[in-house]
Symmetry: C2
Subunit: 464 residues, 2 copies
């Protein structure tokens, strides 16, 4: 009896060991392929330099749909299609213009970028005194008397002390996303927001904003200023509190237009009904070329299929790549994708998004049940040789969020975050800021994780 | 008795916990200070943009001595001095010139950089057929007959499949460091080496080489070509094996000149005789401005003292910062520093070098006894919140290497290595390629480690 147990344990041990060796060696070949053969950097070059910024509803966004459709076509998957959706169409219009006026005629130009979704100024622009505000709460304290007729200048820097810069971002972005809606309630004429950027430079960073339930008549225009210009305005304002700020922008929201998610898949050989999804978003802001946000995530997602095909891997489950449209200002692509999955009764077991820049991967964050999480944590060791083994519980990605249910694990690739906000939503988000090896390391880490989910499925899925 | 033990254990537990909390909170304040108050990025700006490339023996190298002396002076340490040394003085001379000749008159210019320490070509240059070689061993197989009268073209790319790019470098760099010495033995007229660069670009990368014991008459000139031009040459050579390569360089080695290490210290309050050293090297190659190699390591090392001073930390042990001179082509600074330490009977317990670029720190590598290593591994957890907790056994740094003895732990900061060889020894090693936050994270990790060595010393040192 004892002997039998020992033999059994020895056998299990050998079995587990052999399996781990197999995984180790397959993951090694994934990395080798990614680092020496992947074409994803060339794809990103095309998306960035031949197409450029890809705001939802723009010609460029549709060019990106067509281009990635062709790239995926060349991967010769089992199935490839476009999912038709409608997307909002916000346009920047003619270039914004702003200046600071110390006294009539004594002006200094200030570069600004209208926030995505903002209304235009009146055609002659707005000129008014500035009132500098740090926290949104202060609006209430200041009250209508102090704010009415002025331009509110939100100037709370991102906290440099946090290690994960996305956490810093989430603590600062209310100024951009809700600042105008709140300031409008107190009679502000417009809003100027310090850019969400940890670096001091001259580039304004745009990004989405919402007016909440505000009526059209109540909406006020909002624009971003660079971190350097925010500091400059703040300093000057202290010396001369009655200085005036002028800005003019004619951005506007047009009628919705048709657009597409691009979807390709390899059909599973054993459990085709179990679907694994990998994706990034095709749209970007209209400044810069969206190389990090989220060209990188798109090409990495396509690279997962490219690498598996190059390795002649036959997946047990269906592996699907999705180029989501309209993450930046509507999430229509992600929402439509999840809605269609429900309509078709599709069973998604795992979804992975890359939307945090093409930097060296540090690991993944998972939105998973405790049982699934403990399964995942056993795989951590496989990522140690690649230094991509920081596995945390947390968010995944905006586009795959609508897929959430009890039977799925959602995950986000987590690259090094230190440089991300130097580029985010700004003219500095360009192809040259992406390093090929860092990008390829991300594709490899993603492919390795997809391989493990494909090979082992979700143990806890049966609970469903 | 049992009760006593329990109480003792509980007390110990509380003591350890309190101590760990103290360390955690002090390390947090180190990171906070580094990320929000350190001036190291400004110092690097000066070293890079006001001074520039700092080859040993150059005016710029001495400007860097004077500048860092002043920076350290402003830190108001207990002691500051220059250690006089002599350094080799190799000069590039007038710009190199090279071309490939398909047929007389049909030439294509090829950018080259003489390798550090190379001799000049004859004043009219060298024109000869190329023979492409992958491994140094092949020279023997090819023999004098094939090699004599030709220019050997070493063209083994760095292996993209290794994760730590320094490992890849060490497997490729023999072409640069020993290629000329070996090829000369077979009658080659000169040597062209593919740059040590994982990226395909147009920049040749220089770097040190040695002729070993070769007599002056035997020495042949050596230069680097960019990765793109290496590929171009190789392809063209296959099509036209009799193409000729011309190059001309008038670099030379002059007489040694005086130079300096710059050294500052805070005297220990309890164990002043136990010395902790932190350093980087002041000299760099003469192309680019040496921002990553090793301006970053210099300013990070000074930042360690800056941060400890800002936090009003009173070290138990003596903490010394050293700006080493001549790491790139002689190691005279590191050698002289260690020699002087022996002469003075100084007891160094810990030396830390930063010479792997100013990128996001991933951890440290340690050259330590097993007993010291096990002490160090207990600290790993303290670095986890900052994702700088990859602690490995291995090399440390060239400058601190000569300090090695049984009573010391040597360590090297290990930043993310993916982008390092894009910049190493090339015109692309410039200030704009250094990210402020990544640099500051390195300073913080170094300060945290120095703090721990200062606070706890070396448990295994007593064995000595």
């Amino acid at each position: 009896m004892k002997l039998r147990l020992i033999i059994l344990f020895t056998f299990c041990g050998i079995g587990l060991q052999a399996q781990e060796n197999l995984d180790n060696s397959f993951i090694k070949s994934i990395y080798d392929t990614a680092l020496s053969e992947s074409r994803s950097y060339d794809w990103l070059n095309h998306l960035s330099n031949q197409i450029g910024g890809r705001l939802s509803g723009s010609v460029q966004a549709e060019q990106a749909v067509d281009y990635t459709y062709k790239v995926i076509e060349n991967l010769k998957l089992d199935k490839l299609w476009k999912q038709e959706i409608t997307v909002p169409k916000w346009v920047r219009g003619t270039p914004e213009f702003a200046y600071m006026e110390l006294s009539p005629g004594a002006t200094t130009n200030i570069p600004i970028l209208a926030l995505g979704g903002s209304v235009a100024t009146p055609s002659l622009g707005i000129k008014a005194e500035l009132i500098e505000v740090t926290y949104l709460d202060e609006l209430k304290t200041l009250g209508k008397k102090a704010i009415s007729g002025k331009i509110v200048f939100f100037n709370r820097p991102m906290d440099p002390k946090m290690i994960n810069t996305f956490n810093t971002y989430s603590k600062a972005v209310d100024q951009r996303s809700k600042g105008a809606a709140e300031a409008a309630k107190y009679g502000a004429l417009g809003v100027i927001v310090r850019s969400m950027n940890l670096r001091l430079d001259d580039f304004p960073h745009t990004g989405g904003m919402s007016y909440g339930g505000l009526s059209d008549a109540m909406k006020i225009p909002a624009a971003a200023v660079s971190t350097n210009h925010a500091n400059f305005l703040s300093t000057t304002l202290k010396l001369n509190p009655s200085l005036k700020f002028y800005f003019k922008q004619n951005c506007r929201t047009l009628a919705d237009v048709p657009s597409h998610n691009v979807i390709g898949e390899i059909r599973g050989s054993e459990f085709p009904e179990e679907i694994i999804v990998i994706g990034g978003h095709l749209d970007s802001w209209d400044v810069g070329d969206g190389a990090h946000d989220d060209g990188a995530g798109c090409v990495q997602s396509m690279a997962v299929l490219e690498i598996l095909k190059k390795l002649n891997y036959t997946p047990k489950r269906t592996i699907r790549v999705v180029m989501f449209m309209n993450e930046e200002n509507g999430l229509r692509g992600g929402t439509a994708y999840a809605k269609r999955a429900v309509e078709l009764g599709e069973q998604h077991i795992f979804a992975l998004e890359s939307d945090s820049g093409g930097f060296t991967p540090r690991g993944f964050s998972f939105d998973a049940s405790a049982a699934n999480m403990s399964q995942i944590m056993e795989w951590k060791v496989l990522f140690e040789p690649y230094m991509a083994h920081t596995f945390t519980e947390g968010g995944s990605g905006a586009d795959i969020g609508p897929l959430k249910n009890e039977g799925i694990v959602l995950a986000g690739l987590r690259p090094d975050s230190q440089r991300y906000f130097d580029h985010h939503h700004a003219a500095t988000d360009t192809f040259d800021a992406v390093n090929k090896r860092e990008l390829d390391m991300g594709s490899a880490a993603m492919t390795a994780l997809v391989y493990l989910f494909d090979r082992y499925g979700l143990e806890a899925a049966e609970i469903k």
